[in-house]
């Protein structure tokens, strides 16, 4: 997709290329050989973008971004961790298969430059079945899941909106249970940290070697954020309601909130 350079005036293109039979991210300059480009592999472009933008001070970078990448970029731009002016977003519509895997309800990028927008998933079966459990069963369910956690930090390291270099979850103040698994607080703290920025890319769940349904938990918390504050992460126009005053962001009257 060289049109990134000509039509949109970018100086670099961040995309995924076939290399040695594998898909790998590449940063291309104008005139570089693109080889075979791959658009079928979910890849954390936002993270790579954040990393390389520290070194590329001049010039605009075009990035091939799915809808969730686009929203993750919005979250980072809001926090001044990425400069919007230096970015060119080339929208990539996800395949039906990918949508199914992510149970994605918002798969279509603002401009679908590559691929065609497929229908969004209706709802997350995993999340709704967990939601429908009575509280004690739900706790048992999650305890069983979290017991599998080996504290590899794959969920944080691969998360596009987890931007701290070192992590509070490595401190014994908050996860004092020694060793592995790290205990319930570990996962709850991650849940609240992501509440106002998770874009449901599903990377945490994909990264998890123990198959903990982390995306389902994210989706459940995001639903609460929507219900309580009418907030959806990835909206470039809205600040996190958790940081602003009540006037700046009136709270919906939620009958069963505290």
């Amino acid at each position: 997709m060289r049109l990134a350079f000509e039509e949109r005036g970018a100086d670099y293109l961040l995309a995924i290329k076939e290399a040695h039979g594998q898909a790998a991210p590449v940063l291309l300059r104008k005139g570089d050989d693109a080889g075979t480009m791959r658009f079928d592999v979910p890849y954390q472009m936002t993270m790579i973008l954040t990393n390389i933008s520290r070194f590329i001070k001049e010039g605009r970078i075009a990035v091939v971004a799915r809808r969730c990448d686009e929203r993750a970029i919005a979250e980072l731009v809001k926090r001044d961790l990425l400069n919007h002016d230096n970015l060119v977003v080339i929208g990539l519509a996800c395949s039906e298969e990918q949508i199914r895997e992510c149970r994605c309800t918002d798969p279509c990028p603002s401009s679908a430059d590559i691929g065609h927008c497929a229908a969004p998933a209706k709802e997350d079966q995993a999340a709704s079945s967990i939601q429908s459990m009575p509280l004690p069963d739900r706790l048992d369910y999650w305890i069983d899941q979290f017991r599998k956690c080996n504290k590899c930090f794959g969920c944080t390291l691969n998360c596009p909106v987890c931007f701290c270099d070192d992590c509070l979850l490595e401190e014994k103040t908050f996860t004092p249970e020694k060793g592995i698994p790290p205990g319930l607080a570990f996962h709850l703290i991650r849940a609240v940290h992501l509440a106002d920025k998770c874009v449901e890319c599903g990377e945490c769940e994909r990264s998890c070697p123990s198959d903990i349904p982390l995306l389902a938990l994210r989706k459940m918390v995001n639903q609460d954020m929507k219900r309580m504050f009418n907030y959806t992460s990835g909206d470039p126009e809205r600040r996190s309601p958790l940081l602003t005053t009540l006037e700046g962001d009136p709270m919906e009257d939620d009958g069963d909130a505290c």
Binding site: C164, D166, R239, S240, L242
Partner: protein, 564 residues
């Protein structure tokens, strides 16, 4: 190496009656880091403080935990003792086992002792992570605001002006003097109140540093000690005054006893202030009168004694007799509270001159019946144990003083508390009687509690003396509870910048990257940023997440391991 000393206070019986102090001391001795645990009868007494200082030196302590009352009143005292004994005052931790334990679990000594142990364990856990801190300073605007130009406010303002302090006085009415204007003579010494008001007013009008705002109200108060911004609404105009200290002297009003003792029903039933007004006129003509004391006070809903009414009744009975020596005056009372030699003399004189005293009770209250040109009062005299009927021209109700209607609003503007009757609540009834817990805001006179004109003046002067301390020192120390950033941890996400209510944080360059930075003078130490930070990169001094985390751990540990 941690060397923690724990001092558990008996506070006389206040703590020791519910909490087994010996047991708490024994428990504390075994806590990690504790090298000394002792007890004091009164830790805040000269002796108590002395023994704490001695223990610090003898045992080479480097952290001090006192388990006693509330840090809101006594923390400065113990911090000073630590400083005097040579350790940084921020290495002191207060555990509240009185207000938060012995007083509220008075009948459960075992549970109270168990809870005291938990609280001490939490305090020790926090203390082990305390670090010495340096205090910052902030300048004080050399100007004061007095709200209310009644007798208290006038006395406060006059005293401030005497010290050369520029003073703004805000009065809602169109004249000064407040409630005292309606009282001609102040007992028991028969002082002419108008003279008193005039002489204080003169001290204001003669000073170029006085600014009297009549017909004005406080519209908004912003800022903090040394640096308040008071917006005054004066008619349609808003005036903004910068001030270092604020004195609340908003006074009181007389309770109007709707529906009680025939008030509102019979014209012959009036309040004491109405009597004052009538006595001030030359044509006062009534010969048979009764005054009912405690009319509307010391009863359910308004349990307090209004303090000034007994003396006012005695004084007015004598003034009636001065005008008409043949008048018959009866005072119906529950207890005569004429405290002090001069007031007691007033009581004696009234008795000598034939004022009749009838003691009534709440069970058989006096009843008022209609009569032409007056009322009949049917009262049960508890001393005689019989019912008497009084034919009266005038029945006077000595009703209590109550807070002005706008005290709710005043309290909100200044963020200061009020008691259940609506009077303002000082920081501590004995230790800080004219101060609010909010630094730089003071209270005097009947805004606090019904007091005599004489006490209003004393309190006004006391409040002025307190208010002049930061103003004359020119600076206040900033408690070392501000936030600080670990720039190496900071991801520069800006959460703290957005959350800070004071815009005290900005993102700046740090080495080759960006990090948040707190402007210490602007930071008020709320810790809102701390909770917003996802990486624990911003911490509040004295309330770090490690310290609070250790308290939570200690609570869990004590609960699971027991408090033995």
């Amino acid at each position: 190496m941690l060397r923690i000393g724990v001092f558990v206070c008996h506070c006389g019986h206040n703590i020791a009656s519910a909490v087994d102090v010996d047991e708490v001391v024994e428990f504390a001795r075994k806590l990690p880091g504790v090298v000394y645990a002792g007890q004091n009868l009164y830790s805040c007494s000269q002796e108590g403080l002395g023994s704490i200082k001695k223990s610090i030196e003898d045992n080479d302590l480097n952290r001090v935990v006192v388990a006693a009352c509330t840090p809101r009143t006594h923390e400065p005292l113990f911090r000073r003792a630590c400083e005097q004994a040579g350790i940084n005052k921020y290495l002191f931790e207060f555990v509240n086992i009185r207000e938060h334990c012995s007083w509220i679990h008075a009948k459960e000594p075992e549970a109270a002792t168990g809870k005291a142990k938990k609280l001490v364990a939490m305090g020790v856990a926090k203390a082990s992570l305390l670090e010495p801190q340096e205090e910052g300073e902030s300048a004080v605007i050399p100007r004061a605001v007095v709200i209310g130009a009644g007798i208290s406010g006038l006395a406060a303002a006059a005293s401030l002006l005497d010290q050369g302090i520029e003073t703004h006085i805000i009065e809602s009415k169109n004249c000064v003097g407040g409630l005292l204007r309606e009282v001609a003579v102040i007992g028991p010494e028969d002082i002419d109140s108008r003279n008193l008001i005039n002489s204080l007013e003169k001290r204001l009008t003669s000073s170029p540093k006085a600014h009297l705002h009549l017909n004005s109200r406080v519209k908004e108060v912003k800022g903090f000690v040394g640096n308040f911004e008071v917006t005054i609404a004066k008619g349609d105009e808003d005036i903004t005054v910068q001030a270092g200290a604020i004195i609340v002297a908003t006074g009181t009003r007389e309770f109007q006893p709707a529906g009680e003792y025939g008030f509102d029903e019979y014209p012959a039933v009036i309040t004491q202030l109405e009597l004052e007004r009538r006595l001030a006129k030359s044509d006062f003509a009534a010969s048979r009168m009764a005054i009912i004391n405690c009319a509307g006070s010391r009863q359910p809903g308004r349990e307090y004694c209004s303090r000034v009414c007994c003396n006012a009744s005695l004084k007015n009975a004598l003034r009636i007799l001065d005008k008409n020596p043949d008048a018959q005056v009866t005072i119906l009372h529950r207890d005569i509270m004429s405290c002090g030699a001069a007031a007691e003399e007033l009581y004696r004189r009234a008795s000598e001159r034939g004022v009749r005293f009838v003691r009534y009770g709440l069970e058989k209250r006096p009843q008022v019946h209609a009569k032409e040109n007056g009322v009949v009062l049917e009262a049960f005299d508890e001393t005689l144990d019989e019912t008497i009927d009084l034919d009266l021209d005038l029945l006077i109700l000595a009703t209590p003083l109550v807070p002005p209607e706008d005290s709710v609003e005043t309290g909100k503007h200044l963020k200061v508390p009020r008691d259940k009757y609506g009077f303002f609540l000082e920081a501590h009834v004995k230790l800080r009687p004219v101060e609010f817990a909010t630094d730089g805001v003071f209270v005097c006179g009947s805004a606090r509690w019904p007091v005599s004109a004489r006490e209003c003046i004393w309190q006004g002067q006391a409040a002025a003396a307190k208010a002049s301390i930061p103003i004359s020192e020119g600076k206040v120390r900033i408690e070392a509870i501000t936030a600080e950033v670990d720039p190496d941890r900071c991801a520069a996400c800006g959460n703290c910048v957005l959350a800070c209510p004071y815009e005290a944080i900005e993102i700046v360059e740090h080495l080759d990257t960006m990090a948040a930075k707190v402007n210490e003078a602007q930071c008020k130490g709320c810790g809102t940023c701390v909770a917003a930070c996802h990486n624990d990169a911003i911490q509040q001094k004295g309330f770090s997440s490690r310290q609070l985390g250790a308290m939570i751990d200690a609570l869990i540990r004590t609960a699971t391991e027991g408090t033995q």
